[in-house]
Each structure stands twice: as C-alpha cells, then as structure tokens.
C-alpha cells in the first residue's frame, strides 16, 4: 500500500512540474510587467526600468528560457521570486493561503455534510414531497452562478442590517482590525457567515453533493444487502444508515477529496465579492497587474493542491472501500 502510494506521488510530482512550467512560460511570454513602469510621470529612464526588472527577473529583454531557469532554480530552493513591485511572493503566498483556508474550509465541509444528508434523505423518500422539494431546490441553486448568489446574499444582508438599524451580519471583509481578543474571534465568525452560506449551498456545495449522493444511495437501496440487514432484525433506519449510506459514501468521497484540494484557490468570486484577500482574488489581481511571478506561484500552488487532493482521494477510498485496498 505505502509503495503504491509513493509511486502515485512520484507520477503526480512530474505532472506538477510540467503544469507549473507551462504556466510560467505562458505568463512570462504574454504578460508585460514593463508597462507598469513605462507609463509613469515623470518618465523613468529605460536603463533604470531594465535594472529594476532584471532584479525581479521580469525583464522581457532576457530570453524567456533564461528567465525560466532563474525562476525554476528559485522555486526548487523554495523561493517564488518577487512581485512586479519587488515584494516577496513567498510572504504574500503564506498570508493569502491562510485567508483562503479560513474562508473555505468551513463552507466546504458544511456543504459536503449537508449535501450528503439531504441526498440520502431524498433517496429514501424518493418521489415523495421532501425529495421533490430538495430536487427542485438544488437545481435552482445549481442554475444560479456563484457571483449572482453571493451578490444577492450580500444585498439581502445589507437591507436587513439597514432595516434593523445596526449591523447584525457582516457582509464585507475578513475581520474588524480594531477589535482584539475574543471579540475579534466573534467578529471573524460573523464575517464568515455570509461566504459560508454562499459556498455551502451553491452549485459546488450541498446542491451538487445532494444530487450525487441521492443517485448513489438509490443504487444501493435496491441492493440485496440492505434487505439482508433488515432480515437480520435491524430497523429500517439503522439498516439504511449503517449499511446503505456507508456503502454509498464511497463515490462521493472522491468528489469531496478533490474539492478539498481546491480549498485554497477555488473561490475567486466569493473572495472578490465579500472582499477577502485570498488566493483567488490574488490570481485575478496579479493577472491585472502583469505580475508574472505571482501568477506562476498561484498556478504552481494549485497544482500541488490537486496533487494532494488526488492522494487524499486514494486514501479516502482505500479507507472506505476494502475492495480496492491493494495488498
């Protein structure tokens, strides 16, 4: 088992190297960091610009392969280089990563848990009112793009707050820097409410999982082993929970593992709309700013996340399903 996983890991590392290199090449050949310096008043002498860009390894006059070599050498030693204005990409990455994590982890977990529960419920109550309600609801939610859903939630909260006359639920930013200690913790939680709702019920959260889980559960419900469990003397509810749901979880776990992999970078719209300075927002900002090294860093980081997600999915499935365990 360990050997098998190591081999999978080695192959995935090669994929990560290819993906990051291609992303760097694409960014380095199409983006123009020089533009940020050229348009200035008073004009900056070209020699100065060249010197600055050289220092950040962003000079388009250097052959791209040479820039790539410099970048790659840095990455291997754990240095993702400098942003367009000379700040450390590593520092930015370290900060933004955790912003995204704080934003997304709760929503992802909740979305999965609620989705599985609703899916299992609607499978058991197939064609009854509850099933139809959940079905219609999840299709409506899946049909609404996340930026519409998030904006609608923000507008609704804004009106609610205005109607109440005080701020019940925060709808922008990550926390209020003026507060400290336990108050700040509560304030952070308050800021989390809206993005978490938007993330967990939307098309990549509960709505999505409930459809998958419903199908998996329906497949399993007709199986003989559920009948066997009841023939043993288990109550219907126990048989469904212990035998049917447990088996039907296996396929959903794979989807879940991959969505955990994208926890750090997966919420561009949510971050932008609720004004959190996470990885997704950074990607958009750095593309706008022609920031080659930041774009490359985000892409490389995403590739590594996907690598771990695939590893996690292997581990999860192996843990849940004895049939695939490799001896």
């Amino acid at each position: 088992m360990g050997k098998y996983l190591l081999r999978r890991l080695a192959i995935n590392v090669i994929l990560v190297v290819i993906a990051s290199s291609l992303a760097y090449m694409l960014a380095a050949t199409t983006m123009n960091p020089r533009a940020a310096y050229q348009g200035r008043q008073p004009p900056v002498p070209e020699a100065v610009i060249d010197k600055t860009l050289d220092a950040y390894n962003l000079n388009d006059k250097t052959p791209v392969l040479q820039r790539y070599a410099t970048w790659a050498t840095g990455v291997v030693t754990g240095d993702f280089g400098k942003t367009w204005n000379g700040a450390s990409v590593n520092d930015e990455l370290g900060r933004r990563m955790f912003v995204s994590l704080r934003l997304l982890i709760l929503g992802t977990l909740l979305g999965f848990a609620i989705g599985v529960a609703l899916g299992a419920y609607s499978a058991v109550k197939q064609y009854k009112f509850g099933d139809r309600l959940i079905g219609v609801g999840s299709f409506v939610l899946m049909a609404i793009p996340v930026f519409v859903l998030a904006t609608l939630l923000a507008i609704a909260t804004y009106n609610l707050n205005r109607g109440l006359g005080f701020t019940l639920i925060e709808y922008t930013g990550e926390y209020n820097p003026k507060l400290s200690g336990f108050d700040q913790f509560l304030n952070r939680l308050n800021h989390l409410i809206l993005p978490t709702i938007s993330l967990s019920i939307g098309g990549s959260g509960a709505a999505f999982y409930s459809r998958i889980q419903r199908n998996m559960m329906l497949d399993v419900l007709g199986q003989d082993f559920v009948r066997t469990a009841m023939a043993k003397g288990l109550r219907r509810r126990t048989a469904l929970m212990k035998h049917a749901l447990r088996t039907a979880l296996i396929p959903s776990a794979t989807y879940f593992a991959f969505s955990v992999g994208t926890v750090f970078t997966g919420a561009i719209f949510t971050e932008k709309i609720y004004n959190w300075h996470g990885m997704g927002a950074w990607l958009v900002d750095s593309i706008n700013a022609n920031d080659v090294n930041s774009v490359a860093a985000v892409t490389a980081f995403t590739a590594v996340c996907i690598l771990f997600a695939s590893l996690l999915s292997d581990l999860l499935v192996a843990a849940l399903d004895p049939r695939v365990r490799v001896s």
């Binding site: 098998y4 082993f225 009841m230 447990r246 088996t247 849940l320 049939r323």
Partner: protein, 689 residues
C-alpha cells in the same frame, strides 16, 4: 402445532398488480416445505411478505401467524424482534446479500448482537463458532475477510451461519443454491441439512429446481401465476401429480438419468400478473382444457389425505392415472440423415489440437506489471464431426468460455491449432476469415442482453444477411422466423415485447441467417424457465437434424447436455478431464471429477434422492493462476485421498493425459487410476465415501 400459518396472503403492488393472490400453507417444526414455480409465479414475493421486507408501497393482506402471533400489520418495533430471531432468511445471490464494506465476521456478529445481550468479543467468538459449524476452514482467520474475498459457495455458507445465529424456528431459503455450481450446491445443501438438525427449525425452501426440492422437502407447494395450484407430500406431487401444470413441469425437466429424445414442453408463456386470463390462469397452456376452465378460477380444494389441488379435472386425472407424458403432446423430431454415415467417414467441422490460452495476471494501476499467468485453457484437444453435437461442460472458471472465445476469434491461438471447416486459423487471411464467419455462428446465454433493444427483430435477423451482401433479405427473415417457430409478422416488433424463450428463438434465427455449418451455443437455455427450456432444446435438436448442423454446446447443466449432445467433454481447470459419447460418459464415468459432478446433480425423483449417496467434493476450484502440479484435480479428488503414498506420487508428479478406455470405442479419461463407476442410478454398487 405448526410454527408458521399463512392464510389467504395477497400482495398488491402499486398500480393494482396482484403478484400473490391468496397463498395459504403451514410449516411444522423440523419440516421442510418446498415452494416451486417459474419466474413470476410469486414465490419470492410471498416469502418477502412474510418477513415484512417488501417495498413500503405494496399492500399485503391476509394472515401470517408465527406461533399464533399475527405478523401482518405488526409495528416495526415489534417486527424487528421477530426478524432474524424467530424467522431467518437466506437469499439467492450471496455476493450482493453481504454488505461489501464490512467483514463477514462483523456482519455475523451484528446479527448475534441485535437479538442477544452479549459484548463485542463474545459476539465475535460466536461468529467464528458459527462459521466453523457451516464448514468454513480456518474460521478465525476467515471471519476477518471481506465478502469479496470469499468464493460463492463460502459466501452462501456464511449466509447460512448468519441465518442460524439466533437459533431461529423458521428458515426461509429463497433459491439458496441457484447461483452456485452443482458440486458447490451439493455442499451447501449438506450444510443446510446440518443447520436444520442443529436448530430443529422448519424450512421453507423456494426454488425453481425440482431436483433440489425432491431431495430436501417433505411437502411441496406448486405455484402458478401468484396462486398455489397443488400442494401435497413430496411423493404425491412427484409420483401422482393431479394438476396439469405440475404434470407438465415434471415432464419437461431434462434428467441425467433420462432417455434421449424429445422433451415435453409446455406451450405458451406464463401469464403476466397484470393481465391474467379469465378462469384458470393455466388454461391457455393446458392440453386438458375444457370450456368450463375459462368460466371460473378453480379454488384449491382438498383432494385426499393432506393434499390440495386447484383443477376441475383433478379427479379424472386421478382415476385414469394420467401422467405428463400422456397429457402433453410429445413433439416428434425428424431424425438426422447425416448420422447414418459412420462418424469416422464424416468430415470434421471443428478441430482443436492442444489449444492454449493464457492470460497475464497484472497488478498495479499505473505501472502495471505481470505477477503471474492465468492458465485459462491449457492444452485441450477435441474434434466435432458433421451433424454432431459436442458439449463442453464444467463448473464456472474451468475455461469453457475462453475456449469458445478463442474459436470465435478465428485468430492464431497462443499454442496448438484451431481448425474450422478444414481451415487453420493461424494461416488465415482476412478475406477467408470473413467468409468463414458465415459458416460459424453463435447463440448467446442471455437473450435479454444479446439483442439490441432499439432494433426491430426483423433488422436484428437481417443484420448478418446485409453484412454479407445478401439480396433477398425480407423473404429470408420471414423464412427464418417461421423456422424457429415465430410468426413472420413479429419482424416489426422490438425485443422487449417478447418473452425470454421467444428472444432466445430470435437469437437462434439470427445465428441461422447465413446458413452456417457450425453453431456455437453458449449456455443457450440456462437463463430460461424449465417449461420454456424444453421447447428451445427441442427446437435446437430439430434444426440440427433438418439442416445438418453441428453444434459446439457449452453448458454447466449436465441434464440438458444429456438430451442434446452426442459427445461430451468434461473440463476442469483448463484441461479436459474426460471425453466420449454421452452414453459412455454418463453411464460409466471413469474420471473421479466426472463422477462427482454427476453424483452432485439432484434428480427430480424423491425416492432416488433419498437413497442416493453423493460424492461430495471438498473445497473450491483452485485458482487457475496457480494450478496444482501433476493432476489438477488431485487437491479435491476423493480417489487421491484413498490411494497409497506411492500411488499418490504419480498424481503429484505426472500430469495425466487422456487415455482411451478399453471398454468403449469413444471414451477417454485423463486419470492415472481411471475406473468406471456408475453414479447416476441408485444401484447398490455405488461408490461409498
């Protein structure tokens, strides 16, 4: 007092379809009640209704009393105390009946803990004891295995262990051995008898196999279209049936001790529960039908001691002593012209010479590497003369299907030779291969899966004609449909409008379209009910004789083979164990495996079954990836066990090849110590174990 009393049980599914229409029976302590019937007769639904395990939207009425306690309408809280405690159930398919993600031991222990107040360790220990009781070797280790790590027979044993975990008063077995091979079936039935002795439970045994019932049951209930049509002691039902359906059913079974020749089919198909005919539901298929039969459905009335019959002509049948063969018309099959020529002078249509087919055994998902070889077919030789049927028999995993695929591919084999109609497959060019496909056709096992559901039957049959550029397609399709006993108008319909037997006839018509010389039949009747099966077997026999066909017939049912085949080759782990004419192999089997195989088949004859001594094989088929050295059968061979150490060495070191037996012209066995033994008839010279 009886344990279980069922009275007027009816089950209605949503949409108003009555699947069970008034079933009544009683089961005494220690008694085995057999319920027989074809698919759709409502036998399984009856038992699920008793357990309260039907879908929640089906309506159950009538009365089911367990020890006088009414089960119908009982609250779930009460019912769970009965299920698995007083009544246990054994299901048909042991693979899907276990939850795949828990170990066998855990699932049995769960059954113990539901009804008994014991701690986890004690329940686990009890699970091991139970596995030991049902004959699972190393039960302490095997209890930690998952269902997919068990073989089919082992799983069914574990299922029995789970069913008897709480010492039930009643065991309901729903087709407990249908998914198993015959030698494994014999083992499992033995275990079931042990389990009954151990618990003293009453057993309700549901099956379509009249042979299994004959050996197990004390009383029999015959069901047709959701209703019991005859009930009585096993001897009465088998020797003195009084309802034409029972008579037909008994007459239509092919028997391994039977005569060759036509089987007696019951014409027509069982009615759909959604549209029952007026009056007696069997009337449209009954040869004894009179006008009165259409007026009213005959009730199940007492007829003599302890038996009930639902037929208005039952008394007449009794007085005249009629049997199925008297009542049902025996079809006349025209004899074949080809067989008048001695076999040696007829041309050979198919010849296999030490053909080998190995598969690499791979491991790993990304970097696959070869870890071994599956010896699927390991050097088999046989030939088929024109107008002859050779049956290839053996249990699952013996290499029958691989052999067949290799022949159908018309590609060079990995070793040995395949010669079809005089042409060697290794030296064939593409044009010859295509031309040869005309002469070599196949009929598949599952008639549901073998026909494209989105194509009208006419197009299905026309497809091979068009592929080979024939012009007279429409006339030929009509001709073919008539040839297989279907109306030419059926060409417009789609496969789902036909019953299983009719679909198989369509499959046969498609195979016949190009006037082939050799047809490969892959288990052509194993998916069909007995009464339908007889008709298809007769059709195959008739087509062979009138069209001069040759068949390679692959089957696991040795009784069907006896009726259809001229010669038989018994396969074991990729090798032929015994080959010869049907008469010599069935009457004087010389290889211990053939003997065990034949002795494992239940006969639809209670008297013979009671006195029969079976040769029970130990364990399961070894893995074809790691076959035993020398003789492949030695690990399970009852004869090997009785040999002296010196004699045994030969079996271990030297692989036996097929040696012709002196007593017959066409009979050979691959055993160093071959010895002809009669195993089918109940004579006294049967081999004792």
């Amino acid at each position: 007092m009886s344990i279980l009393e069922v009275k007027d049980l009816t089950v209605t599914f949503p949409g108003g379809v009555q699947a069970v229409r008034g079933v009544s029976y009683e089961v005494e302590r220690g008694e085995v009640l057999g319920i027989v019937g074809e698919s759709g007769s409502g036998k399984s639904v009856t038992s699920l209704a008793i357990m309260g395990l039907l879908q929640q939207n089906s309506v159950v009425s009538g009365s089911v009393k367990l020890h006088g306690q009414e089960l119908i309408g009982m609250k779930e809280d009460e019912l769970v105390k009965v299920r698995g405690k007083s009544i246990s159930m054994i299901f048909q398919d042991p693979l899907s009946a276990f939850t795949p993600v828990y170990t066998i031991g855990d699932q049995i222990a769960e059954a113990v803990r539901i009804h008994q107040k014991v701690n986890k360790d004690k329940a686990a220990k009890r699970a091991v004891e139970l596995l030991d009781l049902v004959g699972i070797p190393h039960p302490d280790v095997r209890a930690k295995a998952f269902p997919h790590e068990f073989s089919g027979g082992m799983r069914q044993r574990a299922m029995i262990a789970m069913a008897i975990a709480n010492d039930p008063d009643l065991l309901i077995c729903d087709e407990p051995t249908t998914a198993l091979d015959v030698t494994i079936q014999a083992q499992v039935l033995e275990v079931l008898k042990t389990a009954q002795q151990e618990t003293g439970a009453g057993i309700v045994m549901i099956t379509h196999d009249l042979g299994v019932i004959a050996g197990m049951a004390d009383r029999v209930l015959v069901m047709y279209a959701g209703k019991p049509v005859e009930q009585g002691s096993v001897d009465d039902i088998y020797y003195r049936p009084r309802m034409p359906y029972t008579m037909g059913l008994l007459a239509s079974i092919p028997r391994i001790d039977g005569e060759e020749g036509a089987l007696v089919p019951i014409e027509g198909n069982p009615p759909s529960p959604a549209s029952l005919p007026p009056g007696c539901p069997f009337a449209p298929r009954c040869p004894m039908k009179v006008d009165m039969c259409d007026e009213q459905e005959p009730p199940l009335v007492p007829s003599g001691a302890g038996r009930h019959v639902a037929c208005i002509r039952a008394q007449e049948i009794e007085h005249k002593g009629l049997t199925g063969a008297d009542v049902f018309p025996v079809p006349v099959i025209p004899p074949s012209d080809v067989v008048r020529v001695p076999r040696a002078e007829r041309p050979t249509v198919l010849e296999l010479d030490s053909m080998i087919r190995h598969y690499p055994l791979m491991k790993g998902a990304v970097f696959k590497r070869r870890v071994g070889t599956v010896h699927a077919v390991d050097g088999i030789s046989f030939d088929i003369a024109e107008g002859e049927t050779l049956a290839l028999v053996g249990e699952s995993g013996c290499g029958k299907t691989t052999t067949l695929q290799q022949i159908m591919q018309l590609a060079p084999p990995q070793g040995g030779r395949v010669v079809v109609l005089g042409k060697d497959s290794s030296t064939m060019d593409a044009a010859t291969r295509k031309a040869l496909r005309k002469d070599l056709q196949i009929v598949f096992q599952d008639p549901m899966a073998a026909l494209d559901p989105r194509m009208p039957v006419g197009d299905i049959i026309a497809e091979p004609l068009r592929a080979h550029g024939r012009k007279d397609v429409e006339a030929r399709v009509a001709e073919l449909l008539e040839l297989v006993g279907l109306a030419p108008e059926y060409a417009e319909r789609y496969p789902q409008q036909f019953s299983g037997g009719q679909r198989q006839r369509i499959g046969i018509a498609r195979a016949l379209a190009l006037e082939p010389k050799l047809i490969v039949l892959d288990e052509p009747v194993s998916a069909l009910d007995v009464s339908i099966q007889a008709g298809v077997i007769n059709l195959l026999e008739e087509l062979k004789n009138t069209l001069g066909l040759s068949y390679l017939f692959v089957a696991h049912d040795l009784a069907v083979v006896r009726h259809l085949a001229d010669r038989v080759a018994v396969m074991y782990l990729g090798k032929i164990a015994e080959i010869g004419t049907v008469q010599s192999v069935y009457d004087h089997p010389a290889h211990p495996y053939t003997q065990a195989l034949l002795s494992a088949i239940p006969l639809p004859d209670p008297e013979l079954e009671r006195n029969r001594k079976r040769i029970l094989l130990e364990g399961d088929l070894p893995s074809p990836a790691d076959p035993p050295s020398g003789c492949r059968f030695r690990t399970r061979c009852p004869k090997f066990a009785r040999l002296s150490a010196d004699e045994q060495r030969r079996c271990v070191d030297e692989e036996p090849s097929i040696a012709r037996l002196a007593s017959a012209v066409d009979h050979g066995a691959a055993c160093h110590y071959a010895e002809e033994v009669e195993v089918i008839t109940a004579s006294d010279d049967q081999e004792e174990k």
